[in-house]
Every structure is written in C-alpha cells, then in structure tokens.
C-alpha cells in the first residue's frame, strides 16, 4: 500500500517539475540587528497570489515561471519589505528585517502575507514568539513558555505546582516536547513553577494540537516544538533579569562576524527558594544552562552545536532529597543540495535522570533514560504549488528503572540494579504540501514507525502468560508471582511493533479572509510515563512498549473555521474528536516506585476526547490579546480482559472502575483564558490574564470505615466529583524608563500581581480525621493566593 502511494507521489511530482521554464527564488530571512534567522516569515508573490514561509532555519525557496514580480516579506512585529524582482534565472535573495518597535504610531498591516498562511492546510497550531511569552504575567514574575501555552484554547494543566500540561484532554506524557529537535522528557523545574525553557534563550515556540505533520511522531497528544536562538553574529550583547525567585544572564556575540556566533545563558533560583515558609534545613532550587554555537560556512552549509543542562534539587532535613534533570547535546548540519532541496542532519544525545533519597529508610533510588537520536530531514521545494518533506529518524533508548543503594552506613539496604531496558524507535516519513488551486490546498503524508524492544537480563515469565491476577470473588486485581525468570542474549529482539500513520489535511480558502480546514491524524506512542498521579512527578519512570504494554495509537479528526475580521481581529473555531487505543491504567493501589515488574499492576484500556475551541484574537495595535474558550470532554475506560481459559466458568473480569468510562483527571468541561496587553505609552505597558477552568475531577467519600485504628474515607467509582472551579486574574505592568534612550544599558521593571482577588483555588481536598479533635473534616489545600512580585530585566 505505502509503496504504491510513494510511487504515485513521485510520478506526479516529475510531471509537475518538467512543465515549463521555471526558476527558483530562495534565501534566508534574518533579523537585521542580530543576524538571527527568523522562523515562519511569509514571502508573498503578489502577482501570483502565492508564496512561501521560512522554515525552522530561516530558509525559504519558491519556484516560479519566468517573470517580473513584486515580493512582500512580512512577519508580525517587523517592518514589511517590498521588493520588485525580475526572475530570469535562479535567484538567491536574503532579507534582513527590522523590528517595528522603533517605529512610532499605529502600524497598518497590508494583510497579504497574513492571508497567505490562512490558505495553508496547517491547523490546530499556535505559535508564540519569545517576546510574547515574556509579556504574559505569571506567578512570581518569571516569564514562562509552558505557562503561556496554558492560555491557548485546548491546553490546561492540573493547577498550581503541577508539572506538565494537557492538550485536548490528553495526558502530559503524550506531548512531544522538543528543544532544538531534541526530545525533553521532563519539562518542569520546581514542580512546575517554571519550565525548562529559558525565555531569553528561545526564539520560537510552536504547539501542534492536531493535524500534526508526518515529520513528527512518537507521542499521541501534541507537539511542542521550541527553537533556541543561534546567537548574535553582528555584535556582542548581554541581557538578564533579577527576579523574586530566580535570576538569569545571557551573553551572545560573533566569533567571526556574520559567520559564526555563540550564545550562553544561565538561570538559577536562589538556593533557599520559599525559605521563609520552611524551617532552616530545607531547600529547593534549580539551575539550567543553554549554550549554542553556530557557524555559517557558506550559503549551502550551516553548523549548529547546542547544549542544555538543567538540574533541580530539593531536600528536607537532608533526610529526603529529590533531584532530577535533563542534559542534552545536539549537533546539526544544514545543507542545501540545491536552491530547492534543503536538508538537516541532527545528531542528538540526551540524558534524563531523577533520584530519590530517603535517609530515614536508608534508601537511595535513581532512575533515568538515555537516548541517542539521529534525524535526517529533507525539504524539497519543487515549485510554488508543491513542497515535499521526507526524512528518517532513529532513536535508541536505554532505560534505567532504578538503581538502589544504601544512603548511609547504618542502612541495611543492599545495592540493587533493577533490570535495564533497551529499545529502538525508527521512522521514515513523506509529507506533501500541495496547493492544488489558489483556494484548495492539501497536505498528505505517511509516517512509518517501527519499534523494537530488545532483550534484557531478567525477564519474568508468568503462568498462562498472565502477570496480573483477577480474583472473581473479591473482584480485586493483584500482581501475579512470576513462575520463572528468563535470561536472553543481549540485543535479541523481544518484541516489535510497526505502525503506518497516515496524516491528511485539507484547506479551502473561500475568500482572502475566510478558510475552512479539515485534518486527520494517526500517531503512535511507544514510550509511556508510569504515573498514576494527576500530574507528573519527578519520580515517575518512562517505560518502553513490550509484551504487556502495547503502543498507544491515536486517531484524531479536527475541523476548523478561520475568519479574519477588520482592525486586526480574527476568529478561529475548531472541533476535534480523538480516540486512543492501549492507554494504560493502573489497578487500585498500584505501587510504581522501584517496581521491577510494572506489568503486574497495569491493564491496557482506551481513552477518548472531544471538544470545541474558540479563539478570538487581536494581533495588532496598542491593544492586543485574545479570548480563548474550550468546551471539551475527556474520558478513559479499562474493561476487563477477554477470558482465555475455558473451564466451564465465565472467567470474566470487571476491569478498572467496573469497566466503565470515567473522567480523566484532565477533563475540564469549560476552559476560558483571556490575555490582554495595552501599550499605554513608551514608558508603560500593561498585561493581564484571566483564567477559568471547571474543577479537576476527583472523588469525595460516600462513607467511612475504621480498620486497625485507621479512619478511612470510603470512595465509590473513580473521578465522580470535581474540585471547585479554578479561576484567577493576574495583572502586570512593564516600566521602560524613558532615560533608556541613547544609553547602553536598557533596563525594564516588571511589576506583577498574580491572583489579584486572592482566590483560594483548591489544588486538592483531603478527607481525613483531625488527630487532635478526633473529628472528620475536609481540608482544602491551595498553593497560591495573591502573589506580588517585581522583576528587573536588562539588556547591554
């Protein structure tokens, strides 16, 4: 099937290529002052009502018939460039764009470049520039990528002090998070107070919620693609900030002017973050470092070396210590085979580690995942109607589920290594962007993914191949005791999975201002984060698919309506429906910490979500912002397994939660996010957020009982009730002193108030017996009330 499709594509392409005399216009678009490439700039050919956008490396290419054209180069926040060209041979044209902030007064957008992207098939995507991220007020005054995307429709999280984010009712581990093409396995610092992305070091953030192109794979909910800056190759610059919780400093500059540049940025929270709230022996802190080197050898070859290292530590009385972090190194080579054929080779090594030390039990546990990743991606700009992207990816994983060591001399704990696991994930894809007519465009692609689980040292074998036993009388699932332990040769294939993942999107542009888009996405996910909490924790462990853990498979349909209005307003409305097969679920009381046989506590189930998203946006003018609303539902179900034995009995199982659908912890019926900014003068800019979310699903007791001196609330089915609704309002004011003008040091002050009306949002409600009064009570925990903060940022 796939072979026939591929040959069909190429035959079609050959036909189109040989049509008439055509020449290629290509080049790189950069920001004038820093020579930093710009992503997503539109280059519009006015006469043909067609165009191109720059890719992740600032490159564009378009092939047109011979002729004279007027070209417009447009990018939000920058001055538009208009140029006349005469295309009689292949032309290399680089553009340098200037920031529009230096211009005074209202800027009128011509709209031509905007409507070009409207006609493209890509939907369900949100882009944020680093500049926008920095404007959004967040708790403790620190700009943050993940906190910013939470303001978009279809994106929520479990509230304050929770890691990760949920897209369209999906789990946090179903998001593919990439920093400069390298996968990040944990995106949070300090339990979600911060994300791992240093806002000073990043250039561009894209979140794909649906209609995900075939070049992405391996996760079933969304793709968060973050690119770091390359470094200023014109002049040496420094910037930084001093905040209430952390400070940061970033330096960048040329090594060889216009050819090679470096960037190094670091952040650190103060060692005694939240100290006043603790007693003296406790601390929590994080730090991270972003580095990048780039070298532009010639017009055809660019090299990039980037690195990220981050670590979190928190400790209580030295008796409880948790640390975790990501380290990654990434080498990339951009090569232009021709004006039309762009390639990028990435070689990535990443290491995610996490450790837990419990001194009172004399126990130290460390876990991690090492990943060696090779990607080769090509973008073939055939002509103004057709772009073909193809490539191969390969990732080799080494999982350490746990190394156990004694934490002190008195401890009786003996060192132990839980069995390491090995896997390889490879994929090849072909993705075609095809403008069939000026109004109709198609995106069609196919990703073929292949996953191998290699043999490991100790493999448990179970009676009847059943690692989890169901008691038909007490109706309880419990772990089976392995019948045998098998040792196989290293590198022998234990299990393998292959999936064909078709992607399809259709865009139809009715007018310059109105478009309808439709997409279908199938994706597979071979790695699973073992977590039975509402949001990920640093002690959660990633595990590969295998005999008992099947790959998750997604089918998502999305339909969108896009309308540009007057005065910079636009409306986007999308509907989505998705189903996920093989979503793992945990039996009641599943213990995941240092568990060497995870198959004994999980069952394979399914999940589904559907919803409607509405985004009303104003992107230009002094008054900017958006209103996002999402109505959605997210559920999961784990029915009992189908009986294998025939002993005259039914052998049926009840499954988890009696096999009935239940709300996932990320089911938020209503989600409203409003973000507004107002540039009052050159001196003052104001920003505000309002967030409202239906309360997170949880459980309230339907009774209580006593057992062995414990008073235990007794619960019914899973996630029947909800926490109270979550809402808050934040404001911030940015002061740019007027005396900055003409000075080398440019400073700014950001004053912010988080949760202005001091709402005590419940992060949880616990039902417990008060040990002093002996009375049962419901206790609400809230993380933040009103939090004022001040941050000082500077540029040099």
């Amino acid at each position: 099937m796939s072979r026939i499709l591929v040959s069909f594509f190429f035959t079609g392409m050959l036909f189109l290529v040989q049509a008439q005399d055509r020449y290629t216009l290509s080049g790189i678009v950069t920001e004038a002052s820093s020579n930093e490439t710009l992503i997503g700039v539109t280059i519009t050919i006015k006469e043909l009502k067609t165009g191109a956008t720059t890719n992740e490396y600032g490159f564009y290419s378009i092939t047109l018939p011979t002729g004279d054209y007027e070209i417009q180069v447009g990018y939000l926040g920058f001055k538009e460039i208009t140029q006349r060209i005469s295309l009689t041979k292949n032309l290399r044209l680089n553009f340098e764009m200037e920031d529009r902030t230096e211009e005074l007064g209202e800027v009128v957008i011509t709209g031509s470049s905007e409507s070009y992207s409207l006609g493209k098939t890509q939907m369900s995507v949100s882009s944020l520039t680093a500049q926008k991220v920095k404007q959004i007020p967040v708790v403790l005054g620190e700009a943050d990528v993940v906190k910013s995307i939470l303001l978009l429709p279809g994106v929520t999280n479990a509230g304050e002090a929770s890691s990760g984010f949920n897209v369209r009712g999906g789990a946090a581990d179903q998001n593919l998070i990439q920093l400069d093409e390298a996968t990040i396995f944990n995106s949070s610092h300090l339990f979600g107070f911060f994300s791992v992305f240093n806002p000073d070091a990043i250039k561009d953030v894209k979140l794909f919620k649906g209609g995900i192109p075939a070049r992405y794979g391996g996760r079933v909910s969304s793709v968060l693609d973050v690119f770091q800056k390359e470094g200023n190759s014109r002049e040496f610059k420094m910037n930084g900030g001093i905040g209430a919780v952390s400070s940061r400093l970033l330096a960048e500059g040329p090594i060889v002017k216009d050819k090679a540049a470096f960037l190094i940025g670091g952040r650190s929270s103060y060692a005694h973050f939240l100290l006043p709230l603790f007693d003296i022996d406790n601390f929590a802190y994080f730090y991270d470092v972003n580095t990048k080197l780039n070298y532009r050898l010639d017009d055809h070859n660019n090299f990039y070396l980037s690195g990220y290292f981050g670590k979190d530590v928190f400790s209580i009385n030295d008796s409880f210590v948790n640390d975790y972090g990501n380290a990654l190194v990434n080498f990339r080579w951009n090569h232009l085979f021709s004006d039309k054929l762009f390639s990028n080779l990435s070689v990535i090594y990443s290491d995610y580690f996490s450790g837990l030390e419990l001194d009172f039990e004399g126990f130290k546990w460390s876990t991690g995942i090492k990943n060696f990743n090779l990607k080769y991606d090509l973008k073939h700009y055939l002509n103004d109607k057709l772009q073909v992207n193809y490539g191969v990816h390969n990732a080799y994983y080494r999982f350490n589920p746990g190394t156990i060591e004694p934490s002190n001399l008195e401890s009786g704990v003996t060192s132990d290594q839980l069995t390491e696991k090995f896997a390889n994930e490879s994929a090849a894809y072909l993705d075609i962007e095809h403008d069939v007519t000026n109004k109709l465009s198609l995106g069609y692609g196919l990703r073929f993914s292949y996953f191998i689980r290699f043999a490991q040292d100790d493999i448990f074998a179970y009676k009847d191949d059943n690692p989890i036993i169901f008691d038909p009388f007490t109706l309880v699932y419990s772990p089976a005791i392995p019948a045998d332990t098998v040792n196989l040769d290293d590198r022998q294939i234990l299990d393998q999975f292959a999936n064909i993942e078709p992607r399809l999107s259709i865009g139809y542009q009715f007018t310059q201002k109105t478009a309808v888009k439709l997409s279908y996405t199938r994706m597979s996910q071979y790695l699973h984060l073992l977590s039975n909490t509402n949001s990920p924790t640093p002690v959660d462990v990633w595990t590969p698919s295998g005999r008992y853990v099947k790959p998750q498979l997604l089918d998502q349909f999305a339909l969108g309506f896009f309308q540009k209005l007057k005065n910079g307003f636009s409306v986007e409305s999308e509907w989505f429906y998705k189903e996920i097969q093989n979503r793992i679920d945990y039996i009641d009381g599943a213990d995941l910490i240092a568990n060497n046989a995870i198959e004994q506590v999980i069952l394979n189930g399914e999940a589904r979500a559907f919803g409607w998203e509405l985004l009303l946006k104003k992107e230009t003018g002094k008054f900017k912002g958006w209103i996002a609303y999402t109505l959605s539902k997210s559920e999961q179900r784990t029915p009992g397994r189908i009986p294998k034995r025939d002993n005259g009995r039914s052998n049926r199982e009840i499954g988890i939660n009696l096999g009935e659908w239940y709300k996932t912890p990320y089911d938020k019926t209503h989600d409203v996010a409003v973000n507004f900014s107002y540039e009052m003068s050159d001196k003052w800019t104001f920003n505000s957020n309002f967030i409202y979310q239906t309360g997170q699903p949880t459980n309230y007791p339907i009774g209580q009982f006593e057992f062995q001196g414990l008073v235990i609330p007794y619960y019914g089915q899973r996630n029947v009730e909800r926490l109270p609704d979550y809402h808050r309002f934040d404001v911030s004011a940015t002061l740019t002193p007027l005396r900055n003008k003409g000075r080398a040091l440019q400073g700014e002050w950001i004053f912010s108030l988080y949760n202005v009306y001091n709402r005590m949002n419940a992060s949880s409600i616990n039902f417990q017996r008060n040990s002093e009064t002996g009375v049962n009570e419901a206790v609400r925990t809230s993380i933040f009330g009103l939090v004022p903060s001040v941050t000082y940022n500077f540029k040099l």
Partner: protein, 281 residues
C-alpha cells in the same frame, strides 16, 4: 515499596508552602455496608491469646460508625472450627481464646460470617514477622524546633519474603517489605509528631503481613492519609478479601463479576506480632 513514608514527607513539603483550610463539602451517601476488622494477631511467645474481630457499619463521612451484631462468626483452620463470641454484648467485638498452633500449623485459615441474610467468606495466609532488635529515641535539637525520631532496628528473616507493618499507635504505620534488604539487619525511623511528655510509654508493634494484606494496608494508608496533590492517585473503593457467597451456587453463579456491588469492607488477615516498648524522653 516504601511509598507511604515518602508520600508523607512530600506532603510535609507541600504543607509548608501551601495554605490549608477546613471547608464544608457536601458528600453523597449510600446504604450502610458491613465492616469487618479481622486482623488476628498471633503472639508466638505465649501459649494462648485472644483472637479478636470487630464488626461495624459504614456511615456518612461526617457521621459516626455504629457497631453491629452478627448471626454467627467462625474460624476454620482445616481441622477445628472455632466460634467467636461477642464480648461485651453490643460492642461488635467477637473473641475466642486460641493458641499460636491453631494458626501456624500450616495451610489457609478460613473466616465465615453470617450477617442478616448474607454469608461472607474469606481466607488468609499466616504473615510472619521478626522481633525488634533494638529501639531507641533520637532527639535532634536544632535551633528552631525539637524533632524526635523513634529508630527501630530489626533483622530480616533470610528464608522468607517478609512484608512488615510497623504500628506506632494513633493510626501511624510504616509499611515496608524486604525486597531490598533480604536477610539483612536494617532499621526504620519514625518521626514522632504527636505531643507527649517525658516518661510516657510508646508501644511499637511489628506485624507480619501476607502480600494481599500488605497491599491492602498500603492502599488504606494512602486513602486515610493527608497526602496532597503530588501523589493523588485516582482513588476508588478499597476492596478487601472478604466476599459475599450468598448467591454463589456453583450451578449458575460461579463468581461475583455480575454482582460487583455486594461486598463488605475490611480484611481478614493472620499476622505474627512482636511488641516492644520504649519510655520517651
């Protein structure tokens, strides 16, 4: 393995950063359900002891739990049937005097309860424990506050898989298994957070638990504790090992899959127990 205590500590962490408040919550209720607290503590150092089972009924979370009365409750070890009698009458506490041999002679112990028009059944395996080697109190006198720790040292039995429940009274337990210290001398420490006076006695008991009993206790500890959002798992009914056999005729009905609502709460277990006392300073 050692989940409970780590949860406790992380809760402690968040507790300090967060704001907690008692609030009014409206809760749903269901028909009262039978609760059976049947952990038989086997003291192998004496010739006979009381086997005690407590029965009561569930109530609304904010109500009180009433005792109840059974029609009959028996134990069976494959040899002898023993009837437990309510003492004092009306307390819901059923007792029988038995020797350790009744439970340690090997094989499953069966519990059968008749209550109203229902019959309930459970089996248990003997959970072995080990004696406490030493127990002492460690007082950390830091500037800010006084912290008192109870350290319990014990030597794991190398020949069997052990699951331990250390009971410090007041519903404070530490659950730990020997997966990572098989046969080793080891220790646990318990942070004494309750108020006490010097000279008070604290009894520490170590109960041996079968794997199902251990898992059940861990689930209850998780559900009764005040752990916060970090480790909040989707909680639902903690089902024990006692089940309804009233309708199981083995002709048409072989299991309870089609009657998932008919179950009592609680657990039947047989645990070896060792006790140790410490005078607090």
């Amino acid at each position: 393995m050692m989940m409970k205590s780590s949860v406790g500590i992380i809760s402690f962490f968040l507790f300090l950063t967060a704001c907690q408040e008692v609030i009014e919550v409206e809760v749903q209720e269901e028909e009262p359900r039978l609760i059976v607290d049947a952990v038989i503590e086997v003291d192998t150092s004496v010739r006979s002891f009381e086997a005690v089972v407590k029965v009561s009924l569930t109530s609304s979370f904010f109500g009180t739990i009433p005792a109840t009365e059974l029609s009959q409750i028996i134990l069976y070890n494959g040899g002898a049937v023993v009837f437990l009698l309510e003492n004092p009458v009306g307390s819901g506490v059923y007792k029988a005097i038995l020797g350790p041999d009744y439970f340690t002679s090997g094989g499953e112990i069966v519990l059968i309860i008749d209550y109203l028009d229902k019959n309930y059944y459970a089996t248990a395996e003997y959970g072995p424990a080990v004696p406490i080697d030493t127990i002492f109190q460690r007082v950390n006198n830091s500037e800010e506050n006084l912290k008192s720790e109870i350290v319990v040292k014990y030597t794991d039995d190398a020949d069997v898989v052990n699951n331990y429940l250390f009971d410090f009274g007041d519903g404070d337990y530490i659950a730990t298994d020997d997966e990572f210290y098989q046969g080793e001398e080891t220790q646990i420490s318990y942070l004494l957070e309750r108020e006490y006076e010097a000279g008070d006695e604290l009894e520490v008991r170590v109960l041996g638990a079968s794997k199902p009993h251990y898992d059940y206790m861990k689930l209850l500890l998780e559900q009764s504790g005040d752990d916060l959002s970090f480790f909040d798992t989707p909680i639902s009914t903690a089902r024990g090992n006692i089940f309804d056999i009233t309708d199981l005729d083995n002709i048409d009905v072989f299991d309870n899959v089609y009657l998932p609502g008919n179950f009592p709460l609680g657990f039947f277990a047989v645990s070896q127990v060792y006790k140790s006392k410490i005078t607090l300073k």
